[in-house]
């Protein structure tokens, strides 16, 4: 069965007919050629396919494209403004927070979404005070980034990069 969907992907409006079995990830990669989100497991187990859907991080391999008609999708490519990198991308680069780079676009989208979640006061498994504002210390970063696997083992540098982003954003 086919269905029409309209999506805004990295700022451009895309309208297309899809097999209703098509995941949002396969729509992005196979239909639109938007290859920044990666397929690592297709089962919601690795985070490589993470993008921002209407500003919130989501694993696109677990999302059917038809269920997201009208959504605004931002991939790692769309976070940058051409050659100008998003601050999280710049810090990943500065801290060498990747090796093969395959998990990286997902890590970066996840970090951007995660910082927003913390700002909105969403607690995590390791948040001690469930009522006050969330302080993104290393333990919080590690916990909240644990849905994004990195087989190259860049976690130490990923945490350092995100820590730096948060430090720069926090007014002194």
């Amino acid at each position: 069965m086919d269905a029409r969907v309209t999506l805004t992907v990295d700022g451009s409006r895309r309208e297309l007919t899809v097999d209703t079995r098509t995941t949002l990830l396969d729509l992005l990669r196979d239909r639109l050629g938007a290859m920044a989100p990666k397929k690592g497991c297709d089962h919601g187990q690795c985070g490589a396919c993470t993008v921002l859907i209407d500003g919130r991080r989501a694993t696109t391999c677990l999302a059917f494209a038809v269920a997201h008609d009208g959504a605004t999708v931002t991939t790692a490519q769309g976070l940058s403004n051409g050659a100008e990198l998003h601050p999280v991308q710049q810090d990943f680069l500065d801290h060498d927070a990747f090796q093969c780079g395959y998990c990286t676009p997902g890590q970066i989208c996840s970090a951007v979404g995660m910082i927003e979640e913390a700002r909105a006061g969403h607690p995590s498994h390791v948040t001690r005070d469930l009522t006050g504002p969330v302080v993104l210390d290393d333990e919080e970063i590690r916990e909240r980034m644990s849905g994004n696997l990195c087989r190259c083992g860049a976690y130490v540098n990923i945490v350092a990069a995100i820590r730096d982003v948060i430090l720069k954003e926090t007014p002194p």
Partner: protein, 693 residues
């Protein structure tokens, strides 16, 4: 001695050249290369572990969008069955569960997958055997172990020395089946057009895949091109061609002119992409009262596949590590109806040094000696196996530097004493080692362009190692120009021959070719070349010394916390100190070292592919069931190295760093678990049940 380059760009922490593309998701991996009107392949896998396919019913598959269904009855014929693993869809035989028995090519991935699910395969099932046990009477002695080491070695009289030793250790250690699981699943786009086969492939060796697939398909290597500028990790599993490469080629031959895309699913990777064999290792050590080793025996049982032999060199590191006058090592194989084991990060050293370095810790306890002191006492002056002098063995330097940085001197050796709330605290140490391989055969071309840059061409691979950047630095120093004046081209078999990104040999082998080409270029064209000036060079003989033993060494330190009630194990701190020759790029090198150590932590605590021998099937075949370390498992991991260069390895003075980071890491953690709890875990992974029992 090798003529050493003057390091100017070498040694600088240059940012990854392809980094800006990678953080934006713009660097194309195999599946991502734009091709027009691709078709998609989905395989059908055997549901038995041994037997024959007797019938394939494709009647239910004839729906729109299906382009072709390949089976052993209609697939194009391959030319060479020299590598039986790649003899795909050529016969009715089933050698392991999950083997490809058919494939559907369709217009969309959804249709291909649905159609593959409709193919009905009937089998004649035969009894299979998928159980590794060390007491099997039918164990086999392989001719060699990977890649070409002697299967067994013997020096002196181990039994006699053990009989008279003041202190003895005799224990058996096991490591489980483990899967490489690079984050990028193996993928190939194959296109057969104009008598040429083009593969966009996720590989550690574009030239290797070209050569292998040309032979398998009966083509001239010149007819095959393999393109792989970026590879999403491999850790050995992408070092050689696997059955999916053969299947993709068959599909391309079946639908000429149309590109076929085939990405393995994560589950399929647990069958056809290689794995680390499980091992059972008996270690016997004899020492005098001062802890000086008099005997060392390391006897290994592991598995291979009936369809193709792979014999992991598990005990090989024990041949060079310590100075026991009486030594023996051996490898025996259970030959099973299972998928083919293969390379996984430091094959041999990784499982072997887990066992050997835990055994050494046990010896230190038995002798009442500090484990670092024990290792220093047994540090051999020359290679115990060949008698050659070391090109640079600085294990003791690593241990001492690590002890200083880690705070080892305040350690109380007694186990089970320290508590932090509900957590038992311990620290452990282990040695690390990896040989320095330099392979012959790589070629590089250097050409001066009209843009006044030097184009350096070599068909090398960057699987996350930083090769793009490190080779650029080497080329700049070899040419005596700034890095900005170098434009590197790698990842394509149309570029000059490059050996595999494996055995931590890439930079040593390819870098040597680049240096040779640069030297020839300068000799012929001087320092003011005209546009188009060009020179190439090949490394026919590895520059590495034959008079010296070339190995890297390291010291791994770990602190662990074990929860007294639940047995949960955390690793708050790891430190690695390495002696690996000259470091080309400290930024990417540190990432490789800590990446290896992180994989070692993962091996220590999480990784285990659980084989259900009744079916010949890995039951936890995805990333939910097969745990790898996640961000929250890792806290403080750091790696440093001794400032040195190896005058005997290659013109850069480097020794290769891709694998040494994992070696010994699991042993350091196991030794720290003992120190925390007094419980000696000899079977990986170290899970809570093992420290609670």
């Amino acid at each position: 001695m090798t003529d050493l380059l003057e390091p100017r760009a070498i040694g600088r922490p240059l940012e990854r050249i392809e980094g800006r593309d990678k953080v934006r998701g713009l660097a194309p991996y195999a599946y991502e290369h734009p091709v027009s009107d691709p078709l998609y392949l989905h395989p059908v896998q055997a549901t038995i572990a041994r037997g024959r396919v007797v019938a394939i019913d494709t009647g239910g598959v004839a729906f729109p969008g299906v382009v072709a269904i390949l089976t052993h009855e209609n697939a194009p014929r391959l030319a060479s069955d020299e590598n039986r693993e790649l003899w795909v869809l050529q016969s009715d035989e089933v050698h392991y569960r999950g083997q490809f028995v058919a494939a559907v090519i369709a217009e969309t991935p959804e249709i291909a997958r649905e159609a593959a699910g409709q193919v009905r395969v009937e089998y004649e099932q035969q009894a299979h055997d998928a159980e590794l046990r060390p007491d099997r009477p039918d164990l086999v002695r392989p001719d060699k172990v990977n890649p070409s080491f002697d299967t067994d070695t013997q020096e002196g009289d181990v039994e006699a020395a053990l009989a008279t030793a003041a202190v003895r250790i005799d224990q058996t250690y096991t490591t489980p089946m483990e899967h490489n699981n690079p984050m990028e699943p193996h993928a190939t786009i194959a296109l057969w057009a104009d008598d040429r086969l083009v593969l966009w492939d996720s590989t550690q060796s574009a030239h290797g895949v070209r050569k292998t697939m040309a032979a398998v398909c009966g083509l001239d290597p010149a007819q095959v091109r393999v393109i792989s500028p970026h590879v999403g990790g491999g850790f050995g599993s992408k070092g050689t061609a696997h059955p999916h490469n053969a299947l993709a080629c068959l599909a391309a031959l079946a639908v000429p002119g149309q590109p076929v895309k085939f990405a393995l699913s994560r589950q399929q990777m647990f069958v056809v992409a290689g794995y680390r064999t499980p091992t059972v290792q008996r270690i016997r050590l004899g020492a005098d009262a001062d802890g000086r080793l008099t005997a060392l025996a390391h006897d290994v049982v592991e598995q291979t596949s009936k369809v193709k032999e792979f014999a992991e060199q598990t005990a090989v590191a024990s041949r060079i590590m310590y100075a026991a006058p009486n030594r023996r090592t051996s490898h025996r194989l259970a030959v099973l109806d299972v998928p083919v084991p293969s390379w996984m990060r430091a094959p041999g050293e990784t499982p072997g040094m887990f066992a050997a370095e835990v055994a050494l810790d046990e010896l230190a306890v038995a002798c009442g000696l500090d484990p670092i002191e024990l290792r220093i006492r047994n540090d051999p002056e020359s290679d115990p196996e060949s008698g050659r002098p070391w090109s640079g063995r600085n294990l003791v330097g690593c241990l001492k530097e690590g002890a200083r940085r880690f705070g080892w001197d305040v350690r109380d050796p007694k186990p089970g004493l320290r508590r932090l709330g509900d957590w038992l605290v311990g620290t452990g140490v282990a040695s690390s080692t990896y040989p320095c391989y330099v392979f012959p055969g790589s070629k590089a071309t250097i050409q001066y362009g009209t843009d006044q840059r030097y184009v350096v061409r070599i068909g090398a691979a960057d699987i996350g190692t930083g090769a793009w950047t490190a080779l650029t630095q080497i080329a700049a120093d070899a040419l005596g120009c700034p890095v900005e004046a170098v434009r590197l081209e790698i990842g394509d078999s149309d570029l000059p021959m490059a050996t595999v990104a494996g055995g931590s040999s890439g930079i040593s082998s390819w870098g040597s070719a680049i240096v040779a080409a640069a030297t020839a270029f300068r000799e012929r064209h001087g320092t003011d070349p005209g546009p188009g000036a060009r020179e190439d060079a090949e490394i026919t003989q590895p520059p590495a010394s034959r008079t010296h033993a070339l190995h890297s060494f390291g010291a791994q330190f770990a602190e662990v916390h074990v929860h007294a009630d639940t047995g949960e194990i955390r690793v708050p701190r790891m430190l690695g100190v390495f002696s690996a020759g000259r470091i080309i790029n400290p930024r990417t090198a540190r990432s490789q070292f800590i990446g290896g150590m992180t994989m070692g932590l993962s091996m220590a605590l999480h990784e285990e592919s659980v084989m259900d021998a009744r079916f010949g099937h890995v039951i936890n075949h995805d990333l939910a069931g097969y745990h790898i370390a996640v961000n929250a498992d890792v806290k403080d991991i750091d790696a440093v190295w001794l400032d040195e260069h190896d005058p005997h390895s290659n013109p850069m003075g480097s020794r290769g760093i891709g694998e040494i980071g994992i070696v010994g890491a699991a042993a350091a953690i196991a030794n720290a678990v003992w120190h925390a709890t007094g419980i000696r875990v000899r079977d990986l992974p170290i899970t809570p049940d093992k420290v609670l029992s």
